[in-house]
């Protein structure tokens, strides 16, 4: 497996009236060709900002490196001039958003919206782009594609709209697809269809998928590798099975315990007490310490723990992980 996207020490800061707010802090991970990486965390953990920073769509100050490796070239997206970055957006890295209802332009037909990126990234003429748009709609499983090209977004159901968004994102055969909670706004049954579709398309095109979600059920469904974020930092990173079976960071275990299960006995859900800290006023030491049942005063709130390697693929940011494993 070869890495297609490499994020190295990515930081995003927002300069606000209240001072400098670090939203993302030293995030690193790699995404291989054909791999699905799930970026998991609560609201405000910095996962969306991370994805926007990769696309250079955030207004915050971004530092670090985002390296896009392709057969012919290796480019650091954060140092590219804007016109070159524009060429990459939508063509090499595409993105689908959470709300298909609002991410489509309400006054343009689907055909126009799918054809548009092909016309400027691939220099296709109108007729060729429309034919390709029809093929794409067909590919994402929209029936009667030819007629649907003339539909407006409001004439489609939520699932159809998200399929259309995926068609737009796939129009230029991107190497990386970033999906920012693409199933959150959909019904459960439709969610499953969309996940299935993404998996199928990935198998067919070999693109890498970066999946942003807070839904661990979805993660279990689709991910190869999981990066757990908390308060702007990566707190644990591992392949899917080890992470689910043997979470090392107390935050990850907490997340896993708070997932509702379909059992006949009604268990009490164990929610993680408290809230995500305000990024402008992060606690000293481990950001999770104030909510952590294993926190020890004097150790957990002293310094920010390093991201340590538990084994070759499993990284964890907790000073006590070895003790907790032993116990």
């Amino acid at each position: 497996m070869s890495a297609v996207l490499e994020v190295v020490d990515l930081s995003v800061q927002f300069h606000t009236d209240a001072g400098v707010v670090p939203a993302v802090n030293g995030v690193s991970f790699t995404l291989d060709r054909g791999e699905t990486l799930a970026l998991v965390g609560e609201s405000g953990s910095g996962k969306s900002v991370t994805s926007l920073a990769i696309m250079r769509l955030t207004t915050g100050r971004v530092r670090g490196h985002v390296v896009l490796r392709e057969a012919d070239a290796q480019r650091d997206l954060l140092s590219l001039p804007e016109p070159e970055m524009r060429e990459i957006r939508g063509s090499r890295i595409a993105m689908i958003f959470q709300e298909p209802a609002t991410s489509l332009n309400p006054v343009l037909t689907l055909g126009e919206q799918i054809a548009e990126p092909m016309r400027y990234h691939r220099n296709m003429n109108r007729a060729a782009a429309w034919r390709e748009a029809e093929r794409l709609l067909d590919l994402v499983g929209i029936p009667d594609a030819c007629r649907r090209l003339a539909s407006y977004p409001h004439q489609l159901s939520g699932g159809m709209r998200q399929r259309a968004m995926i068609a737009i994102a796939l129009a230029c055969e991107p190497a990386v697809l970033i999906a920012d909670e693409p199933t959150t706004a959909l019904d459960v049954t439709v969610q499953a269809q969309i996940l299935e579709l993404l998996r199928e398309l990935q198998a067919r095109t070999g693109m890498a998928l970066m999946f942003i979600t807070h839904n661990l059920g979805v993660v279990a469904e689709i991910a190869d590798k999981v990066v757990v974020m908390y308060a702007g930092r990566v707190v644990e990173q591992a392949p899917l099975r080890p992470l689910f079976e043997r979470p090392l960071m107390p935050y990850t275990s907490g997340l896993l315990r708070s997932v509702p299960r379909l059992t006949s006995v009604r268990e009490k859900l164990t929610a993680i007490p408290g809230n995500v800290p305000d990024p402008a006023h992060l606690p000293d030491g481990c950001s999770f310490a104030p909510r952590c049942e294993h926190a020890v005063a004097g150790r957990c709130d002293a310094t920010v723990p390093d991201l340590e390697a538990a084994d070759a693929e499993h990284l964890v940011r907790c000073v006590r992980w070895q003790e907790l494993v032993a116990a």
């Binding site: 990459i88 063509s91 332009n105 309400p106 006054v107 343009l108 548009e116 029809e134 030819c146």
Partner: protein, 293 residues
């Protein structure tokens, strides 16, 4: 076989089939557009049919009331045929109205889009410029400009446009500023669209309803403004008629020959209300979200 051949010839669909249906549902809009069409055709073709010349003076037949003699709409204080004058005036007034509208809409939209999209210092400077121009009462601005320029059809059109673009700029700026941060605009950036493409392909179609309404109001307004300056002597110069200066001529005879005022007044009213109704209809026709099915 049949399936394959069907899919190879997908027609790129024409825009607006459904729009035309939405428009046709709007009764008043149909009435409005028919009125305007009638005014345009009458002004364009009328002078070829009417036996009388609009500049022909016939002192013997002054102040003929309408619908009685040979002159269908009567004659004015110099015995000129009112119908001929009305038709020629329509050419001038409608031309000024449309051209001034097109000019002011184009300029106002560009300023508004740029200011709304980029915001920041550029946006602030542009919008303060708009505010500054808005501060002048438009009639004085109009007169001040007209006093320096020789009144011709072109110069009057430009001058009227120069006093009418600011509202459009404000309107468009507000719309674009609100639209710029909507998800679909962000999605367009994420798809690699350039600024120009986002402004003109993604955002303006969403603001077009408001622009169209402003445009139709601007035609009406331009016709009125043209009559203001004609009234004050800086507009279309007699003996060439415009609806405005016909009204101006009529004021001395308001009691003795009221039709001299009523006829051009009715023409202006028809044109103005016609454009307003048309604007309503176009707004609905251009908004696909109103397509109830």
């Amino acid at each position: 076989m049949t399936l394959a051949s069907a899919s190879t010839e997908i027609a790129v669909p024409r825009r607006g089939g459904r729009g035309a249906r939405r428009f046709a549902r709007h009764r008043l809009a149909l009435v409005g557009s028919c009125t305007i069409l009638f005014l345009i055709i009458a002004s364009a073709l009328g002078p070829y049919i009417n036996p009388y010349d609009d500049l022909h003076i016939d002192i013997l037949h002054r102040f003929q009331p309408p619908f009685v003699g040979l002159h269908l709409l009567g004659t004015d204080q110099l015995g000129r045929d009112m119908l001929a004058r009305l038709e020629m005036a329509g050419r001038i007034s409608l031309t000024v109205g449309f051209s001034a509208m097109a000019l002011s809409i184009a300029f106002g939209t560009i300023i508004g889009v740029v200011a709304g999209f980029y915001g920041g210092i550029l946006g602030a400077v542009l919008m303060r410029l708009v505010d500054a121009v808005l501060c002048f009462p438009s009639i004085f601005l109009l007169l001040a400009l007209a006093a320096f320029v020789e009144p011709t059809l072109l110069s009057i059109t430009v001058i009227i446009a120069a006093t009418a673009w600011m509202e459009v700029a404000r309107l468009v700026e507000a719309q674009i500023r609100a639209l710029r941060d909507r998800d679909f605009a962000v999605a367009a950036v994420a798809l690699g669209a350039s600024d120009r493409m986002i402004m003109f392909r993604e955002l303006i179609p969403n603001a077009i309803a408001a622009v169209i309404v402003a445009a139709t109001l601007n035609v009406a307004r331009a016709i009125l403004l043209e009559s203001y300056i004609s009234f004050l002597g800086y507009g279309i110069q007699p003996p060439i008629p415009s609806w405005g200066n016909m009204l101006n001529n009529a004021q001395e005879y308001l009691v003795s020959a009221p039709w001299l005022a009523i006829i051009p007044g009715a023409a202006i009213t028809l044109a103005v209300t016609g454009f307003n109704f048309l604007g309503d209809g176009l707004r609905d026709a251009l908004d696909p979200r109103l397509d109830v099915r």
